[in-house]
Symmetry: C2
Subunit: 146 residues, 2 copies
DNA sequence: TATTTATTGAGAAAGATTATCATTCTCAAT
DNA sequence: ATTGAGAATGATAATCTTTCTCAATAAATA
């Protein structure tokens, strides 16, 4: 039984064939998926799956903390499974290609909690995004600025 | 002459009455403004200002680095003047009220540059968001979990 | 002031997400 | 296995934000 299915059973939330098809897609996938990718992959398992159900289920899974939604500037929204074993991570966004690289920085997380506390807040979540461009060594015609 | 106007002159970009009206709104405003707030305030100066022009001008100012666009989850996009004197800052978002608090953390910026470099990136920008709820002392009926 | 080009406003269009609603499905209790 | 109540679904309409189109206008330069 999948981790998603387990959570649904524990919470007494209905398990439907639509949801099982989506669970399978999201649990198998590596990295970030757009809504259209999720829909088309899940339709291979459940031919009649509707777009509205995809959105509803993604919202439900986000609310349960089983997946995360990412919205980077000028990109389609993507969804990603929250790993039970791996640590929370953040993202480097390549401003040229849109490529996403993940990194962890638990020591930063601690600093952010302290900042939140200093302003009278209990931190519940946080997000760090780095925008940059890949450093290319041995580039034929360097563009200066380095 | 406003800082925005100065930049436009230096770069040889046309100064129109639409743009001047928007400059005035954005330079006077404290904090974050939505597109509708910007439009309605600017219409007091330029009665015929159109929505498309607001979007076009905001995009232009973002590209010039004179303002920043912020898109927090489940909230309308907002725009904020980039100060020439104050440091780059980040945001704490109150998950209950949506209130935004700003904080600076230059020491974190340095750490992020190093992380970027470790992954082969030259950092060009970054974003830190803390989500949390206000700690209320002396609350009549605490909700546990503390 | 004339000329050239960029900018504008209005509305259409696009894209993403949510709402509506009649039908279908799930699941606990029979 | 069957049933019944409520939850979930798919199709599509509706909404919301942002961009596009294009004829008319305004800005900058000569």
């Amino acid at each position: 039984m999948s981790a998603f299915e387990k959570t649904f059973r524990e919470r007494g939330i209905s398990l439907t064939s639509s949801r099982l098809a989506l669970f399978s897609v999201l649990e198998k996938a590596r990295g970030h998926l757009t809504v259209d990718e999720i829909l088309s992959r899940a339709r291979k398992k459940d031919r009649t799956l509707g777009l509205a159900t995809v959105y509803r289920t993604l919202n439900l899974l986000c609310a349960l903390g089983l997946i995360e939604k990412h919205e980077f500037p000028n990109m389609e929204a993507t969804y990603e499974r929250v790993s039970e074993t791996e640590h929370h991570h953040h993202h480097i966004i390549d401003v040229r290609s849109g490529a996403i690289t993940e990194f962890s920085a638990d020591e930063l997380d601690v600093v952010l909690e302290k900042i939140a506390a200093a302003y009278g807040y209990k931190m519940q979540g946080h997000k760090i995004e780095i925008y940059g461009e890949k450093i290319i060594l041995d580039e034929a015609s360097p563009k200066g600025k380095v």
